[in-house]
């Protein structure tokens, strides 16, 4: 066990965990931030996507020992009132079905739009290709990302 100081959603936390603990489980079990989802545990599906220093990162493969000194943002910290343009577009388009993958989708989309504020449909599809939605809400995800890019 070791103590780690983490900056998550602009708040400082200290956790006492083993160094190999993936950030995903620190967030979920220790910080009670359960919006970041566990699904494959091997970085294949994107359900656990968070931002580390602004970059979309698979938290299931990211050990806590690397997270000190980094700026970590989860779905809970994306906006104060769920009113980030991407969240608003997700609601407007009614993207989710079961909803389980959607926080990961939103985190991938927000990070992508930071880098590419006016993407083409093909660029959106390319950027979102790494996130699985088992309900296949993909066409609505594309629409919502496009909508968010236009309302920024």
């Amino acid at each position: 066990m070791a103590k780690y100081k983490l900056l998550v959603n602009e708040k400082e936390y200290q956790v006492n965990v083993t160094s190999d603990t993936p950030l995903l489980w620190v967030l979920r079990d220790h910080l009670n931030l359960v919006g970041t989802k566990f699904s494959c545990g091997i970085g294949q599906c994107g359900a656990c996507t968070i931002h580390i220093d602004g970059a979309p990162t698979r938290s299931c493969l990211y050990p806590v020992s690397l997270a000190e000194g980094k700026t970590i943002t989860t779905i809970e910290g994306l906006s104060e009132n769920g009113d980030h343009p991407v969240q608003k577009a997700w609601k407007e388009i009614d993207v989710p079905q079961c909803g389980y993958c959607q926080s990961g989708q939103i985190m991938t989309a927000t990070s992508f739009l930071e880098k590419n504020p006016n993407p083409s449909k093909d660029e959106i599809r390319e950027a979102m290709h790494g996130n699985i939605c088992r309900c296949a809400s993909y066409n609505r995800i594309e629409k919502a990302v496009e909508k968010a890019s236009k309302t920024k």
Binding site: P22, D29, T36, I42, K91, E126, I132
Partner: protein, 712 residues
């Protein structure tokens, strides 16, 4: 529209005042679904625990509706309350929806499965809303000293002819003392203000902000986390294990054997997962360990054999084939498939001497509670079960083996635990769609179809068994369906659109081949066959030829099927299942020599569309699910060991492979039917028929991606 109300109201509704003022109505919509409900006991002896859903109207007019059925992404947590709200006549903006919990006393069919929630709920949910509305009106009329018939309601406000008004909230508590009215009027669908509107998922705000909703998000004071070690092969048993190294891991609370598995309990999920890896388990050699190549041969042998169970036989198929000029015969092959829910299996259990608390994602709460009660030799009344939102189901959460594991672990450990399966654990305890082969044969004489024979060979289960009366049953004079299967250690279960999901691939591919053999138009062939089942006296036939024709015409019209199009190759299919009618046309283009599906046009008749927005989502999702699994879905075995246990090997459809889905509904006043499943089966043959047109190659085996000559 007046409707005779034959519900025993006492067993259906209970009305009383809400603590803090207002009205609460408990209703058992399942009771009303049963045709022969026994009269209930005296209402004074009933209590609210005997009702499985509620309407609450608070003094301030806010209405809370408890959604009765489990939500797996099929949208019933939104659409079922919409039906109540419509007849109750309240503004949707004033409605809050909560998930109803399990009450083991009453639950008869609180199930998510088979696309049946809306179909079964339609009448009782409307009657509940209408009855409570009438109760409120009657109460207001008595207070005003006017006739109830001169009062009317708009968005939760009652008005009378003297232009007096009173809100539901103001009259709610008084109404709780009133008599439950009988023979209430239901609305004319023309006057619907909520049904037919686009209503967003009621959990949308929680989903987009990451609030706890799902089973894995469940937390309870003092809760520990559990993982299980299971056999790596179907058919092996635990002999012994060494947990010395595992116990040395930090955070480990306990490790023990149960039910041919090993449980690891720790202070956190990761600590349990890590300790699990350090366990050294010894398994026996097992028996009947399945290997794909071998069971494929066994299925072929079953198809060619003589041991069948005949589930429908019309006319004389044998004679038709003997007298035929030509016989067309094809074999279709579909693999085992896992469900791959995004949320891995999990369940919370706290088994104590006093009670058993359960919580989690389950499609069959009552059945699971009963099984746990039996297993632990406890009264089912001791069990409470809180339903969480489910991160997908697709049939996997119909079987609650993970919930039973959680209860057993908590019972042994005497601690509250959240059992968390990894994706690999989910496969090792999976309830797969079984591997199946179909042989369809057609007898042709004088260029006419004279006989039709379906044989199905399955592992552990026969999927076609329950549906021998669907199309083309009743259309062909000599028609026979035969089933065969053998027993195996691989566990199977329902998979989205069970019975029909991949049989539709075989049947609707075969009809295109048959049309080609007869040299007739493939759409016309289906339409001609349907003429034969119109006005049938066969009570077993439950599909309507007219409704099937309508979706065929609609999809042909909207997709431009049959028109010459440069570089677009179209495939058609039509299917009836889960009480709904769906026709689809897939558009395929060749890109770099490979067929790519770009668009699917869908025509659907599901009766009244309760929530068009949700309905479109379901149809699109089902079409893409069908296409994704047809293209990539597979699960192979070597000596009982599943060969693909996570998403790196179990390929699912992703963003860039997703075609546009364009859906058209048949306008209808017929009672609604479900939509979670019916659009999936016809997607696969529509794609296969389009690929045939594009490449000349007829696909008869899933997954399609394994056709090297097409996909490289």
């Amino acid at each position: 529209m007046a409707k005779k109300n034959n519900i025993d109201r006492r067993s259906f509704l209970k009305v009383s005042s809400l603590a803090g003022g207002g009205l609460i109505v408990g209703f058992n919509f399942l009771t009303s679904c049963k045709p022969n409900v026994k009269p209930s006991v005296d209402i004074s002896k009933l209590n609210f625990h005997e009702f499985n859903a509620f309407i609450k109207i608070a003094n301030n007019g806010i209405v809370t509706l408890f959604a009765p059925n489990p939500e797996i992404g099929q949208g019933v947590k939104t659409s079922m309350p919409m039906i109540i709200a419509e007849e109750l006549d309240v503004a949707w903006d004033d409605v809050y929806v909560e998930q109803g919990d399990l009450d083991t006393d009453v639950f008869e069919r609180q199930v998510a499965g088979g696309s049946q929630s809306i179909r079964h709920g339609w009448n009782p949910l409307r009657e509940t809303g209408a009855t409570v509305k009438q109760l409120l009106i009657n109460t207001a009329a008595a207070k005003w000293g006017v006739e109830a018939s001169e009062c009317f309601v708009k968005e939760g406000v009652i008005y009378n002819s003297k232009k007096e008004e009173i809100t539901y909230g103001e009259i709610a508590e008084e109404a709780s003392k009133g008599e439950i009215p009988a023979n209430v009027k239901l609305k004319d669908p023309k006057n619907y203000t909520i049904i037919g509107q686009n209503i967003r998922n009621v959990d949308i705000d929680k989903i987009i902000t990451g609030k706890p909703l799902f089973g894995l998000d469940y937390k309870k004071e003092g809760m520990l986390y559990a993982c299980v070690v299971q056999a790596s092969a179907f058919g092996k048993n635990l002999v012994s294990f060494d947990d010395t190294a595992a116990r040395a891991n930090e955070g480990v609370v306990d490790i023990f054997e149960f039910n041919n598995k090993i449980a690891v309990i720790a202070n956190s999920t990761w600590e349990a997962m890590r300790a699990k890896k350090a366990i050294v388990a010894n398994w026996d050699d097992g028996d009947n360990l399945e290997t794909t190549e071998e069971y494929s041969k066994k299925l072929t042998a079953l198809l060619e054999g003589k041991k069948f169970r005949t589930v429908r036989k019309d006319g004389n198929v044998e004679k038709a084939f003997k007298e035929a000029d030509k016989v067309l015969e094809r074999v279709y092959d579909t693999p085992f498939l896992p469900h791959n829910c995004m949320e891995p299996m999990n369940f919370f259990a706290n088994v104590t001497d006093d009670k058993i608390e359960l919580a989690g994602p389950i499609q069959t709460p009552q059945n699971t509670a009963n099984k746990i009660a039996n297993l632990l030799k406890r009264d089912v009344k001791d069990i409470s079960l809180e339903l969480t939102r489910m991160g997908g189901g697709f049939g996997r959460r119909l079987k609650g083996n993970f919930a039973i594991d959680a209860a057993q672990i908590s019972n042994i450990a005497k601690k509250p635990v959240l059992l968390v399966f990894s994706r690999e654990d989910d496969i090792l305890s999976g309830t797969f769609k079984p591997a199946l082969k179909y042989k369809i044969s057609a007898a042709i004489k004088d260029n006419k179809l004279t006989g039709y024979h379906v044989k199905e060979a399955g592992i552990n289960g026969n999927m076609y068994g329950l549906i021998p009366n669907f199309f083309p049953a009743g259309c062909i004079e000599n028609y026979q369906v035969d089933l065969a299967r053998y027993r195996s250690n691989i566990t199977i279960g329902a998979w989205r659109a069970p019975y029909t999901n991949f049989f539709a691939f075989a049947e609707q591919s075969f009809f295109d081949e048959l049309a080609s053999e007869l040299n007739v138009d493939e759409v016309q062939l289906r339409l001609d066959l349907l003429q034969n089942v119109k006005n049938t006296k066969d009570k077993r036939i439950q599909y309507s030829a007219e409704r099937m024709e309508a979706v065929i015409h609609k999809v042909v019209d909207k997709s431009g099927y049959g028109e010459n199009k440069d570089d677009v190759y179209q495939g058609f299919s039509v299917y009836y299942c889960h009480n709904s009618y769906v026709a689809e046309v897939a558009d395929v283009v060749m890109e770099a020599g490979i067929p790519v599906v770009k668009k699917v046009t869908v025509a659907v008749d599901c009766g009244i569309v309760v929530n068009p927005l949700g309905a479109l989502n379901q149809i699109e999702g089902a079409v893409l699910d069908g296409i994704g699994h047809a293209m990539y879905g597979d699960l192979k075995f070597i000596k009982g060991v599943p060969q693909s246990t996570n998403f790196h090997a179990n390929r699912l459809i992703r963003m860039k492979e997703t075609p546009i889905v364009e859906t058209h509904f048949i306008k209808s006043d017929i009672a609604p039917t479900g939509l979670g499943e019916p659009a999936l089966p016809p997607a696969i043959p529509a794609l296969a028929n389009a690929i045939k047109r594009a490449t000349g190659i007829r696909l008869t085996k899933m997954p399609f991606i394994e056709y090297k000559e097409i996909f490289g």
